[in-house]
Symmetry: C2
């Protein structure tokens, strides 16, 4: 791979040399399980995944990914520690995979790429801050509206059960809000 390539263009182009051949996951198959160290990035060509952790015997869905999203278990990817997060296909899902070492080499190759990497981390932080505000929003309707505004496509791509979990409401409440 030519290391002078633009970091963001390379990541968001599934045909760039960063990405592997397509790989299929069956519905409910895991891309990553808790305890493993995340060393990959996934480009979703087709399908949908959720990122969740288990605490107090409960699953908590904290991220959702669908076609054309790039996703991974970022805390483990950045820290190098075992993941507390699972990534699971919600339907038959085809991804391409990038390796951490290739991504880091690309990032470190030019000053411009280092600056882009910072910009991506800033964006991830700002998304995470939005999520913190979602979690502190007590009205289910307000939570639904915040996420609908931010990610309208999510409601087309992800089974309602997992959206309800992400929004911390029952599927019945979600169904009622979608109709209103």
């Amino acid at each position: 791979m030519t290391d002078s390539k633009n970091l963001i263009e390379t990541i968001y182009n599934p045909n760039s040399e960063l990405w592997s051949a397509p790989k299929d996951f069956k519905r409910h198959q895991f891309l990553l399980e808790a305890g493993q160290i995340e060393t990959q990035l996934y480009y979703i060509l087709d399908g949908a995944v959720r990122v969740f952790f288990v605490a107090e015997e409960q699953e908590h869905t904290i991220r959702l990914g669908y076609t054309n999203n790039v996703i991974n278990a970022l805390p483990s990817f950045l820290s190098g520690k075992p993941s507390t997060l699972y990534i699971q296909a919600l339907k038959k899902t085809t991804v391409k995979i990038a390796q951490k070492e290739d991504l880091l080499r690309l990032k470190d190759a030019t000053n411009q790429n280092l600056i882009m990497w910072s910009k991506m981390l800033e964006d991830v932080f700002l998304q995470q801050f939005d999520r913190e505000k979602d979690l502190l929003t007590s009205s289910p309707e307000e939570r639904y509206n915040r996420v609908l505004k931010r990610s309208p496509q999510l409601f087309q791509e992800i089974p309602a059960k997992y959206i309800a979990d992400y929004l911390r409401m029952t599927p019945e409440t979600l169904s009622r809000l979608k109709k209103s």
Copy 2:
């Protein structure tokens, strides 16, 4: 300021040229109010602050800072958009102030500083992920223990009322957990 200086050493040294003369804030005075754009970073020489936002007519304390912490309203600082966050002194507080333009110039000065800036953003993201897990933890005792392990000093430095708000429990529950 010499721009070849090490970013992290300069930020965490309150006597570096990055920082202003000390400035005092009275108890309950605001360092920043919602609607303003955050263009500063604060080094707390002495005292304590909280960062909060108001939603659904309720205040939500999302960060706490005390002596030797560096803090600001980071979402607005990074995005350049008006802050949804307030920063308020919880007691008489003395800070030094750094300006965004000086910080950005220092960050861009060397490759090493760009890499350090990325590292700081990664750390901030990992802290924010811990906070997301806190918020999804339903047991007050478990939330208390997670934060006690992460930031024991917090319980010496911050009035209990604001710690309780940060932990989303009543002051009575916090007091019971501290004794047990």
